[in-house]
Symmetry: C2
Subunit: 318 residues, 2 copies
């Protein structure tokens, strides 16, 4: 079975662990969000790709869900001693090495997809990890600070401002001019099922779908497309999905997110048992819906979720 | 008193500590060798400048004489896990930060002299540290490996090959086209004394003198120029001076090094008490010579050496 997964960071990475556990023989291609990539200290940092790579490769900090395990912060604290920031972004020493290798390969002319493959040669994540695009796409969030409208990088919105101000708009800068990375459209065309893990529907899955050609390829693939709600009980399980959903005029409910994706794209939708009453509304929108536990508390729970998603895909396939 | 010192790495840096101790009121300008600078992992590394900066700024690893104290090597070991080298060059995590800041500033268009000043704003070395040139000069060593003549970077010769093969020639690539950094010629013209610490006469002091204009400025300054022999008992106190002296046809003796600098440049020369019998030969070459203890075993010994150098300068001045 060939499965394509559109993944953001922590939520996507943890879901993929469950998917690998429930479908160990499956051929899994992950299309990773690169909209929150950022240049820091002259280095190219790809937080979502790295979270997937480290999580599946056994190098993740399990507790915080991002960054390397047994991490130290000597480089960062020395940079701060020179007065060089930003201090709000937590780059650890082990993590630095990944960005140094990536930046050197990009500088040598390799596209991000080839660089990602080279990095994965070490981590062996057990999936094929593709960036959504080799082109630069950068998610900016429009905010009002002191009465003035400003566009800040997504990382600045999320990590520095902690999403404490209202997001007025979310713009994946460069998306319109970007093209899918090599292998992205091919993997979708050859997929037996496409999954949207409980990643952020705006700044993760939404950004991937903003790369021209990807949404169309999924809609036209003619295979079940099943998603899992990142909203449980009208609030995001983690992150700031509520803030960025509001910016695009979507309510923070499991049903509203399904309608946002739409029946033209989505065939099946899993909501949490806490949102069982939303199922009827989703089905009315033409999307098959089941209510199952959606909290990724441990690998067993996550594996069960992935299993439900595949079961719903089979049900949709009929 | 305005003192100009031409410095390499460890020997120069330690001597400067003694000089600051014996002449705390002096205005000291250090012209640092940049011929053994190297690009590693996309970063610009300036070993000699950093050794001076860290030593005088209190950040040096006292035991090894180079690199940062309380250093860790997470970045390097992670780079190795990616298969990215060279592994033979010991870049620590704290040290990495210096090279990241330097590389970013150079990338932004600042010349190395301005970058060095910015780094020193943190370290407060108590001297004015100038690179010999803002231009790229790179010391290469010609060696025969498996019957073939090859030019290797000085760091490769010294750190990787540990100077275990004969140096056939030493070439400061780019020196002829280089110009002294801002402040270098001015500081020499305004100096009351110029000192050559017991640094390597070929790949440290020799490289600085290879920048067109510096040797001439020193010769024409009309002030005492006094050096300290890095050769004691016919062997270098540390490093590979014997190997690179042989490559330029100079014997590894305290007297031969003085003659190599020459009376056109050098007015006074300190040899170690172990080489007292060499004094006559040096004086015959037209260079005032004294035999004093030249082992920098501790700050007291180093301070005494610096004091002897200043005393010899006064004697020369007459």
């Amino acid at each position: 079975m060939r499965i394509v997964v559109l993944a953001g960071g922590i939520g996507g990475a943890r879901f993929l662990r469950g998917l690998k556990a429930t479908a160990p023989e499956a051929d899994i291609t992950v299309i990773g969000n690169t909209g929150d990539d950022i240049h820091l200290f002259g280095l190219k940092v790809c937080p979502d790709l790295d979270t997937v790579m480290y999580t599946l490769g056994g190098g993740i900090d399990e507790e915080q869900g991002w960054g390397r395990s047994e991490e130290t912060f000597q480089v960062k604290s020395e940079l701060a001693a020179y007065g060089v920031g930003p201090e709000w972004f937590g780059l650890g020493d082990r993590d630095f090495a990944t960005h140094i290798v990536r930046t050197q390969m990009l500088g040598a002319g390799y596209p991000l997809s080839a660089v990602t493959e080279a990095l994965c040669a070490r981590w062996q994540p057990g999936v094929r990890l593709l960036p959504m695009s080799d082109d630069r796409v950068e998610t900016h969030v429009a905010v009002d600070i002191d009465g003035e409208r400003r566009a800040v990088h997504f990382q600045e919105y999320w990590v520095r401002l902690r999403a404490s101000v209202e997001a007025q708009a979310v713009v994946p800068v460069g998306a319109e001019q970007s093209t899918p990375a090599p292998g992205v459209l091919e993997s979708i065309a050859e997929a037996d099922v496409v999954l949207f893990p409980p990643s952020n529907p705006v700044v993760s899955v939404g950004t991937i779908l903003a790369v021209p050609g990807i949404r169309e390829a999924i809609a036209e693939a003619g295979v079940p497309v099943v998603g899992l709600s990142p909203i449980v009980g009208n609030a995001p399980v983690r992150g700031m999905a509520d803030k960025v959903l509001a910016a695009v005029g979507v309510e923070s409910t499991a049903a509203a997110v399904a309608r946002h994706y739409g029946s033209g794209l989505l065939d099946g939708w899993l909501v949490d048992t806490a949102d069982a009453e939303a199922a009827a509304e989703v089905e009315e929108a033409g999307i098959r819906c089941r209510a199952v536990p959606l909290m990724m508390t441990d690998l067993d729970a996550t594996t069960a979720m992935a299993n439900e998603a595949l079961a719903l895909a089979e049900e949709v396939r009929g």
